[in-house]
Every structure is written in structure tokens, then in C-alpha cells.
Symmetry: C2
Subunit: 524 residues, 2 copies
């Protein structure tokens, strides 16, 4: 199967692109990821299609923009007609598995309507974005929502951790001076070590499960989506990662009074969210960010373990490795917490790809600043697996040319990212109906333009103002840029791929054939 490399598609939830040593962070330690980049290609201008878990991942898994697949926010079920990565790779002979998180919400109503049993193997695949759910863990759930049967809960229980939800009580909590359980949900507790040894933590467990999947899959090409929950909140790390970093390692916040002077209504509404108000306090940043960084370094250490394992079993040189994230984390920048909006902290993602094949030798160690989108992975994988890329459905572009020769006649001019914040309190503050809350970002790499429905746009010059401190959206001197990018957005909307049930080749094959088929209209 040398012609069909394995695919190790690693995602770290909420990992900011600039929180990697290779990407310039001065204090964080990510030697494994840095080494991967040194041997592969580091795409420095990669954007998520939506800076929030669910829609971002649905774009990663379908190869389509959020506008097109329609799952615009967390817990919006993906329509059953949307094909996913498994639909493309499984027929090419791949085992397509999941270990970790997807944030997929299954379309129960759709299944009922179409008579698909969610418990059948087809139903399970449709419920899991086409992945065989070797291990699905979507991250810590609240007590009232948790199933006692979550795999990681069972694992912890097997190790003797008691309680209804040991994931919460042990893995995502710390302890007070008197042994009281202090929930990791609360950021005031993020400096504490988790109540379990590192070897039992989510990241360690997830890595173990990935190795089990890989070991089991030795006989066929495989695509494993290894989808780590961390460094996503709750921001609580096991020892020794909980105090590996201190306030001295925390970068100064990227927020200014200047920003507040020209505040966009939507930004202002988001600034009213709890996470924004809390992350705007230096006390919070200095407690949370060291834990966030510790979780990243822990992840890096487990990737070292995983890559060593791949080498040990002789699969490293036949496995394409992708390291990316679904979105970033504001961490107080721009007076915001969490993600969802379009500053670089939130919308830019790490995208490092190691292609082990000789034909990629010429690009090793390259930093590539062409515009990359999350939707590019599915076509990349399909092409790598030897399939035909269905370009009437997939809206991304294969990255293989960029990984091998590095040459491509014409690359995309713009990257797009979308938001639908109807689920957030900001909607109330802005007095909008649930279908009035869309925003869309377009960037050509230098200029970043955000179109908000019902509000004025924003414009940033990433070259002159990489910190995005100066919103030029109302600046008369930049009206031409705004107009140009608005036109590009309009062009983008018109090109969305909705005619997904007939391929372009099939259409081409039908053109002008009606008479030949006997439909003799219009003849005298």
C-alpha cells in the first residue's frame, strides 16, 4: 500500500497559531511540533472557516464552507446530504477513524424522515461525520448532561476514580488546601494541578487510544482523525504541566484603549460576555494562560510519544501528518475571551503538514504564507489517496502541489471565515432575530475585511497593523479597499457549490445531447 500513505489528521481544539515555538512564541516549548514543521511545510496564513468548534469542524470534514453545509454553529445538525471525509476515503480503501472530538450533532429528525436507524452502522457513520467512532470524546460535559458511559469516564472509573462524572471531578478539577474539590470550570482554579496523574489525563488517554487504533489498522491504509480536546477549556493541566509556565511567560495582552475608542457594535456586545470581561483582567490571564501553555506543551510531549510509536512500528515514513486546530482563543486580546470573531487570535489556525514521500523533499522546512483554508484538507486527502477530487462538491483545494513542487499556477486570492452568533447573549444586546446574526470575514493576506449583517464593516491592514488595533472600516481613505473586498465577497457567494448531485463531468457529457437522446424539441 505504498501508494496510499496513511493520514494522521491531528487537531488540537482552540490552539492558537501563535502559541507554537515555530510560530514565534518566545516562551512556549513545543519542540515536537516545531520539528514536524521543520520537516514539513508550515502554512502561516491558514484560516478556519468558522472560529467556533462545530461549524469549523463540519467544514474540515465536508470540505465545504459553513454557508454551504449549513451547520453554522455548535449543535446545528449536519444535513444528511452533506458528504464527509469518510464518504470519500472509505471507497478508496481507507479505514477512517476518529479518536477524540468532532462536535458533530447528528441529524436525528433527518434520519427519522429518511428511515435511517441511528444505531445501524450506516447511522453511526452519519452521526459521526463519516468517521468510525473508535473513540469519541467531545470534551467535558456538565454533570446534568453527562452520560455515565462516556469512554473516558469508564476508563477513569476502571482506574478507581469514583463518582458520576470522574472526568469532571478528577481530571478537570483541582483540590483546595483541605482536600475540597475545586472545579476546573472556574478559571480561578486553573493554577491548580488536575486531581489525576498526567498519565491518566485526557491528552494521555487520547494518545493511547490513537496508538491502539493505529496498531489495529496495520493491514490497510488508514486515516485517523486524532482530535485532542485540550488546550480547550476547562483550562486545567495535570502536574507537572500545571506550573511549567508562570506569569513571566505570559505575553502582554494585545488590547488597547484605542480599540475602545472606535468600538464596533458587535465587538462591543461580545465584550459584554463573561469570558471577555474576565479575560480582560490581568489576574485572569496570568492564571489561565500558563495553564493553557502547559496543556500545549503536554500535547507536544504526547505527540513525541506518538511519533516515536509510529517510527517504532515502521509507519512514520508512510504517514502524512497534519497538525491543525479548529480555531484559536482570544485569551483577553482585543478585550475578548474565547473565539467566534475574526481577529487573528481567533480565526487563524496552525497548519503544519508533513508529507513523508520523497516528492515532498524539496519543500521540507518551508514556511508557506499562501492563504490556506480548513476546507483544503479533504481534497488533499482524496488526492493523496489516489481518488478523483469531486470539484462540484468540495470547495477547498488540494494542498498536494504546495507540499511537493510547491508550485501552483494560480492559488486562491482570498480566504473566508464565517460566524453565526445567534446563540450568544450578544444577540440580545444587539436586538437581533436569530437569523440576523451572520458575519463573514474575507482576507487577501494583507487586508482583512469583515461584513456584519445590520452593522458597519471592519477593515484591518495586517501588514501595517499586524496587531489589528486600527479598524479602518470607516476610514474614507480606505473606502476603495472596502469596496474591493465587498465585491470579492459578492463574487464568493455566487460561486458556492450547491448543485452537488451531478458532477461537472456528467454535465459536460450531457451538453447539447437532448436531440441525440431523442428529445426533438425545436425542430421543423
Amino acid at each position: 500500500m505504498a501508494t496510499q500513505p496513511n493520514i494522521l489528521f491531528i487537531m488540537a481544539d482552540q490552539l492558537r497559531a501563535d502559541y507554537l515555538g515555530r510560530n514565534g512564541h518566545p516562551t512556549i516549548k513545543t519542540p515536537t511540533i516545531d520539528a514536524l514543521a521543520a520537516k514539513g511545510v508550515n502554512f502561516t496564513k491558514a484560516y478556519t472557516q468558522a472560529p467556533v468548534c462545530g461549524p469549523s469542524r463540519m467544514s474540515f470534514y465536508t470540505g465545504r464552507y459553513a454557508f454551504s453545509h449549513g451547520a453554522t454553529y455548535n449543535n446545528v445538525p449536519l444535513k444528511l446530504s452533506e458528504k464527509t471525509i469518510g464518504d470519500y476515503l472509505r471507497p478508496l480503501g481507507y479505514r477512517v477513524g476518529l479518536v477524540g472530538k468532532t462536535h458533530m450533532k447528528k441529524d436525528v429528525e433527518g434520519m427519522q424522515r429518511l428511515g435511517v436507524d441511528p444505531e445501524s452502522s450506516r447511522g453511526v457513520l452519519l452521526s459521526e461525520c463519516g468517521f468510525e467512532p473508535y473513540e469519541r470524546d467531545d470534551g467535558l460535559h456538565p454533570d446534568q448532561a453527562v452520560s455515565p458511559d462516556l469512554a473516558y469516564n469508564n476508563y477513569l472509573r476502571g482506574l478507581g476514580y469514583d463518582g458520576h462524572n470522574p472526568w469532571h471531578e478528577w481530571a478537570n478539577s483541582g483540590e483546595g488546601e483541605n482536600g475540597e474539590v475545586l472545579s476546573g470550570w472556574y478559571m480561578r482554579n486553573c493554577h491548580l494541578p488536575a486531581r489525576i496523574p498526567e498519565a491518566h489525563s485526557e491528552t494521555a488517554y487520547t494518545t493511547n487510544r490513537a496508538m491502539e487504533f493505529i496498531r489495529e489498522s496495520a493491514d490497510a491504509p488508514w486515516c485517523l482523525h486524532l482530535s485532542y480536546i485540550k488546550p480547550h477549556w476547562p483550562y486545567i493541566a495535570p502536574a507537572p504541566y500545571h506550573d511549567m509556565y508562570g506569569p513571566e511567560d505570559v505575553l502582554p495582552v494585545n488590547a488597547s484603549e484605542q480599540e475602545k475608542a472606535n468600538l464596533h457594535p458587535v465587538i462591543e456586545a461580545f465584550m459584554g460576555h463573561d469570558e471577555s470581561m474576565n479575560f480582560s483582567r490581568e489576574e485572569v490571564r496570568q492564571r489561565v494562560i500558563p495553564a493553557y501553555m502547559g496543556l500545549i506543551t503536554q500535547l507536544d510531549d504526547h505527540l513525541a510519544r506518538l511519533f516515536a510509536f509510529l517510527k517504532e512500528i515502521g509507519q512514520y515514513d508512510n504517514t502524512l501528518v497534519v497538525l491543525t486546530a479548529d480555531h484559536g482563543d482570544y485569551l483577553g486580546d482585543h478585550w475578548l475571551g474565547e473565539k467566534e470573531l475574526f481577529h487573528e487570535a481567533s480565526a487563524r489556525i496552525p497548519m503544519i503538514i508533513h508529507d513523508p514521500r520523497p516528492q515532498a523533499d524539496t519543500t521540507r522546512g518551508r514556511e508557506d504564507d499562501r492563504l490556506i483554508e480548513a476546507i483544503d484538507l479533504v481534497p488533499t486527502f482524496v488526492e493523496l489517496a489516489g481518488g478523483d477530487v469531486p470539484n462540484h462538491i468540495l470547495e477547498g483545494r488540494s494542498l498536494l502541489p504546495l507540499l511537493t513542487s510547491g508550485e501552483v499556477a494560480q492559488w486562491r486570492e482570498f480566504a473566508i471565515s464565517e460566524a453565526d452568533y445567534a446563540w450568544r447573549k450578544a444577540r440580545f444586546a444587539l436586538d437581533l432575530a436569530p437569523d440576523q446574526t451572520r458575519a463573514i470575514m474575507i482576507t487577501d493576506g494583507r487586508w482583512k475585511y469583515v461584513h456584519y449583517e445590520h452593522f458597519r464593516p471592519q477593515l484591518f491592514d495586517l501588514q501595517q497593523d499586524p496587531q489589528e488595533q486600527q479598524d479602518l472600516g470607516q476610514d474614507e481613505a480606505h473606502a476603495d479597499q472596502c469596496e474591493r473586498l465587498e465585491q470579492a465577497l459578492y463574487d464568493w457567494y455566487r460561486q458556492r457549490k450547491m448543485r452537488t448531485t451531478v458532477s461537472n463531468a456528467a454535465v459536460a457529457n450531457m451538453t447539447g445531447k437532448a436531440h441525440a437522446r431523442g428529445y426533438l424539441f425545436g425542430l421543423w
Copy 2:
């Protein structure tokens, strides 16, 4: 069931809006349709969402624009995730049936992927736009494509008409002087009577089947899509309709040398099609149009028979009747034949609705020139049936307010119609790939603007130039109109409803609730 009126949703394929007496045609006889309009509301500015059978009908049946449902041309399968009229009305207690044509292409590949047996009752509904196919006849098929089991073929065979495809050989052919069969596919034969008595013709048969459906459905509210194939080609009518009209009844062609002087490339390419070249000859018009008109009058006579039947069985006063068409027919106007483009002859459709309920008494006989779209029927029917209109999916608006009080605070400002001509020879002439052939029309009732991908736009002033002879798309003096309508198109694209798996009410119910559900992110 007095609270749930029946719905008789009549469509006549390729019936031009202006080929009705009520709509001003000076020579055609359509007394039944005219009387329906006199008792109901005649919407004089109704547009099809796509001037070609398949996509138009998919819009009629889904309540969504072609861009949204994706079935952009004939024989593009409708995605299984697209709900149709049956999904909405059946749960409200309606029997939802089809007699006639839909041009639906079932999504075989999608069914295979989702495990739906096309032969199961679910599979059949999914194959038939949600209609129970009481009688499906999509019109005359060529010999090599025809199934000998087509219902109308079987009917004819039962009457003693022989051959593999009696629909073609008898119902849609005439006879020469020596008894030779002359195919109705060829327009030179359109002056001949069909080889069967009128009572055995498609239109008569279809009406009979509708009456059978209605008779069978007396116990529950029903929605019948009565979808006549005629006056669509082959343009051949049975006696006496074949010579009811003559050249003296044919209106002068609406085509001029002025149009040719400023020819749009797409129009020019369509002018190269056989149907356009033939219909540009007066000989063809004078032979075909009388037959076309005869078929319309025949239809009108059968509607009289049908309405008499409804009265006889006591259902007329409890049945909402719609009379519409999927698109028009150029018939040589603008040097074109067939349809597909956006002149009034092609994109405007008849839309007459008779609401028998007392609350509609105030609007009887009204001519309503507000902009109506094909997608308005599904929400109209859902509201009439007492259901909640799912406004996160349906893109049309219920016409009930226009039928009852006539009052509505704010009606739509623009109507839209779309084309995808990848399947036509014009694509070769224009040297386009199969995904570069989209065009879209927007009108505010006065100005009609057509955006063509890869070509300049067109603009017509329907008030000053109702014949659409003067394309102002390149006229500097009208640049502001073009810009305004281009902006309106951009706004329209952004508002498409793709998040169809969660209702607006459900979203509203979730807004700001994450913390209450125990997801305690962002708290200190």
C-alpha cells in the same frame, strides 16, 4: 374538515402568462380560467424561480430558490435533505397526490448512500417530490427512453392503440395524406390533428385521473398537484383544437432588428439553438402558435369539466384552486424559442388563486401586481392547512394575507429567477465550463436586471419598454439602477437559508443558555 380546505394545485407546463384572455390576449379563448380569476385573485407579476421545468418545479415543491435547493437544471437530482410539499402537508392530515408531471429526478446515489430503498413507500415519496404518485406522467419520451409501462401508454393500449409507444405514435403524431405517421416532434406537423379523439388525449386523460383521485379522497383533506403536460411541446392538438386558431389569431412577434444591434453574448448563443432559429421564421410561428393556443383552450375546457365535477360532489367551495405554470415559452419573441432566459415571455408565469372561504370575499376579482414567486405556494398551503410555516427553510411567503384582507405591512421588494444553461449548446458557443453558466434575474417590478457570470449584465425598463426591446445594461445613464440591483442581488445571496436543521425558534430558545446548561466557560 371545514377548517382545512382542499388544495387543487394546477400547473400547465410552458403556459405563457399572456396567453390567457384575462391577461389581455385578444384572440385566445380561456373562459374557465378567466372566470376563476374573476372569482379569485389574478397575480399579474408572478415569476418562476427558474424558467425551465426541473428547477422551477423543485422550487415550487420545496419553497426554496434554485440556488438553495441545488437542482439547477432538468435531471439534477433533488438532494434528499430538501423537504418537499408532502413533508409539510402530510403531517397536517392531508393526502398529497400527484397527477401529471413533476420532472423530478430521484437521487439514486443519495438513496444508496443513506440506505433508502427506492421501491419502499418512503423511497417512492422521496422520488416524487413528496407526492403520492397517483399518476405520474412527465410528458412524451423518445422511443429509446420510453418505458412500455407508462400509465398513459397502458391506457392508450387498453383502448386499442398499438405499438411500443402509442403516446408518440398516436397521441403526439398526426397523419399524412396517405395515412403515414407524421411525428409531432417536428413542428412542420403541428397543424395536423393528433391521431386520437380529444377524449383520449393527454389533457383529457390527466383530468380524468384527477377526478378519480379527488373522488377517492373524499374523507380527508387533500392536496392534488394536477400537473398538465400541455401546452408544452410536442405542440400537437387533437381535433377540434388543432384548427380552432389560425394565423390571423397569432400575435405579431415581439422581436426587432434593434435587439440584434446590441446583442448580449448569451442571448446570441441561445439564438443559435435550433428552436430559436426555427421560431424566428414566421412560417413556424404561424403553424405552431395556433396549435399552442388550441392546447390552451383544450386545457381550459377540461378545467371547466373539472370544476363542474368539484361542484357536483360538493367540494368546490372547500377547495383552494391555484392555476399556474412552471415557465413560459418564447415562441419566437426576441428571436428565441423555448424558455430558460428571463424575458417576460419566459420568466413570468400565470398565477391565479381562488380561495373559496368567506374571508377572501373582499379580494375577489382583484388584479394584484405585487411581486409573487413560485416559492410562495408552499408557505401558502402550510398556513392554509393550519401548520406553522418553517421560516428557517422556506424562502417564499404565504399569499394568504394577499388573498384575504389583501393587506400586508411590507411585501417583497424584488423577485428572483435563475438559470444554469450548462446543458445547452450555448455553453460551447460561449466557451464556458459546466460550472460557469449561471445567470440570475432580479426585478423590482419596473426594472429588470440580469447578472450573467462572465458576461455583461442586461437591464430593462418594464414601464417604458414593456416589450423589453431596449437593453440598458450598458447605458451610462442607467448605471445607478444597475448598481442598485446588483447590490440587491448581493443582499439576496447572503440571506439564503442554508441552516435548515434547526428552527429559528429553537435557536432563540438556546440563546445565552450555555451557562444555565452547565457549560461554565469564561467564569472566574
